[in-house]
Symmetry: C2
Subunit: 412 residues, 2 copies
């Protein structure tokens, strides 16, 4: 079960005017499970995305980037997104690209638009051919059940090793105009997004100019999906998409406005919620850990140290065991690659417990205090570097037997 | 049990003239186990070392560096090394430094030399005060059993979570003169040396000038201990020491000689053997994996990719499960941080099986072939980048349930 993350309630997930969702059981990898999702957009919609930096980026990621670019060049707005699970269509060479394009063509024919107005996404096993015929055969079923009020099923349809669907809604009133937003995400393993999570979609009914949305998607990813890690494995398929349907009353054409600032805050908050859901449901996770590095000389060095802690198998297993073997955190800070770090000024806290002062064990630190915090399911590691004002936060989980079991058994 | 690595036979470990070893049960952390080792050197000996790059380097590492430097400045040769297990004396601040110096002073008084002629080493738990009084109380016992023929016990005395002692001997005849060499090492966890392994000592009876030994220790570390990783955690205490006692007949004063070249080959071979023993006995290891990256444009990028594969929890768990989920290797190559990597030219092999050609699954690749190799206990992953002539090899092990158990339980 996910850490302190109840399963979303379908009725809490609010429709967003201008986007309809439909799903199918196409038998991509296994029978009798939702494995295809279609999201159909109003013609007024703008879409922006960020994608994995993995050089082995999947075929659909390459097609998405090309279609977003041609859409921005006035080829016509993006009209639908299509997602399949069970197969990542990555490491599949030219055949993989052809299959991603075929998928777009098939959906475009059904919706009466151009293939370049479709964005395709895949998630699942790498290096295996996409069963494109089964995927295409499932599309009419997905279109048949397109509904605005279908977010819960949509969240289910993009799950792989996730133990539960991830979705949340929020609304905000800006200048008297209400913006409704709802998002879904999936994660579980191969999670150290470096642009975005494995898959995340956040839709709102505002009308937002493309350059504003392009700015917003980057800002949002950097404060949410780009700050989580489960196992340090950056996926080939990471994608985070922001959709503004244009069906609502709020319109934003400029980032230098108070309206934009208000909206950004709300979007980041919702994206963080979706990103945290991925960590809370990380493969084998039993604890939700916040790593906050403060007083750095740059955000980059704070992130380096935070990720070094969050990726250390020794730190992660100690948290799993609730063992305050906190020297492992110091070791991870020390090898993070900040070459001129003066550890004699460094302070380390576990929640409210001051563990290390000026680089050494705090004289008042007692093992039982560390033990008390380690037993919690939500823990904050705080590092103060005493060399500047920059800071960074990364969210992660522990490393348990179940992580090994899940990944040793996946596919079997 | 370690992977294809029988326990060394005591009688196979040959004495090296000019070095005597003694051990004690000092009760540093637990009673009734060898936890202190003293290595006493002939006055003719030269010593060179490489140490962890971890910014939280332990107090004894700092003292070692200072004493090696002052010894090179003619303060007098290094006369002894002292190692304790059970406590790393790292993250211990000024008190830790004082304790490392006290240890040197106590041993120097017993041996009749200066404290600066002693090199101290510690390994074990970080962030806990060193019980220096118990350590010092154990020194007379260690000195009482100093013997040349004590390498097996020495290897036992430096073990922590190692399941077996690691030691090997070799001899080489250069220009009619025999060089005898014997080494010991320890590892098991927190192993991704970045200068050297957690602890490794290699002694030979040649007489080698200090600048030559300084060169040799770096060359050797870069080809052996600096190419292994278990969990990517670079320890605070990594140290690899090369000792030339000067008691033998071979003398080398210049690296630009055929004698040096012959010696270097032999020393590297023995150091690789000791380094491989650490991987074979890695925490929870069931497989010994060689990652060879070839045809790179630089050694650095080959190492980046090799380490990315060797550190991926998803790759490591797939090897544990003997599951040919080899797309995970492509993903790890893709996120290694080689920004201009053209994956469409890349080839991947698992032993003799050609898995991916030109960035995609090889048309002749069959899952059962991958499966056959994955079931072996020794596996080579070979990546051909098709962008140059550089290459690098890294040795690692798989990630099993036992890794989690060992590290969740260590200290308890």
């Amino acid at each position: 079960m996910a850490v302190n993350s109840p399963i979303p309630v379908a009725s809490d997930l609010k429709p967003v005017a201008g986007i309809r969702l439909g799903h199918a059981e196409a038998g991509i990898r296994k029978a009798n499970r939702k494995d295809v999702l279609v999201m159909e957009l109003a013609p007024t919609a703008t879409v922006a995305g960020v994608f994995t930096t993995n050089r082995f980026c999947a075929a659909p990621v390459q097609v998405c980037k090309a279609h977003l670019e041609s859409s921005n060049m006035q080829a016509g707005p993006i009209r639908a997104l299509v997602v399949n699970t069970g197969n990542a269509n990555a490491g599949t060479g030219d055949a993989g690209l052809a299959n991603a394009n075929k998928t777009c063509e098939a959906l475009a024919a059904l919706l009466g638009c151009d293939a370049s107005q479709i964005l395709p996404f895949s998630t699942g096993v790498i290096l295996e051919p996409l069963p494109v015929d089964r995927l295409i055969a499932g599309l009419p079923q997905a279109i048949a059940n397109l509904q605005e009020d279908n977010w819960f099923a949509a969240a289910e349809a993009i799950m792989t090793t996730d133990t539960q669907p991830k979705a949340a809604s929020a609304s905000i009133v800006i200048g008297g105009k209400t913006v409704q937003m709802t998002g879904i995400s999936k994660g579980a393993g191969m999670i150290k997004p470096n642009m975005a999570t494995m898959l995340g979609y956040l839709a709102m009914d505002a009308r937002i100019a493309q350059p504003v949305l392009d700015h917003l998607v980057k800002r949002t990813a950097d404060k949410s999906f780009n700050c989580i890690t489960i196992d340090g494995d950056t996926s080939t398929n990471d994608s985070f998409m922001l959709i503004a349907t244009g069906a609502g009353s709020l319109e934003i054409n400029d980032v230098d406005t108070p309206e934009y600032a208000e909206l950004e805050t709300a979007v980041i908050a919702l994206a963080q919620k979706l990103a945290h859901m991925i960590i809370r449901d990380g493969e084998g996770a039993t604890k939700f850990i916040t790593v906050a590095v403060e007083e750095g000389s740059s955000v980059e060095e704070c992130r380096k140290i935070a990720y070094s802690i969050a990726h250390s198998p020794l730190v992660k297993t100690a948290f799993f065991a609730s063992d305050p073997n906190l020297g492992r955190i110091l070791a991870a800070i020390g090898y993070a690659g900040v070459d001129d770090l003066d550890v004699s000024k460094l302070n380390l806290y576990l929640d409210d417990v001051w563990v290390a002062r000026n680089g050494g064990r705090h004289p008042d630190y007692k093992e039982e205090d560390g033990q008390r915090v380690m037993k919690q399911s939500e823990i904050t590691i705080r590092v103060r570097l005493a060399r500047g004002n920059a800071e960074a936060t990364v969210w992660t989980c522990d490393l348990s037997h179940d992580y090994v079991s899940i990944n040793a058994d996946y596919r079997s």
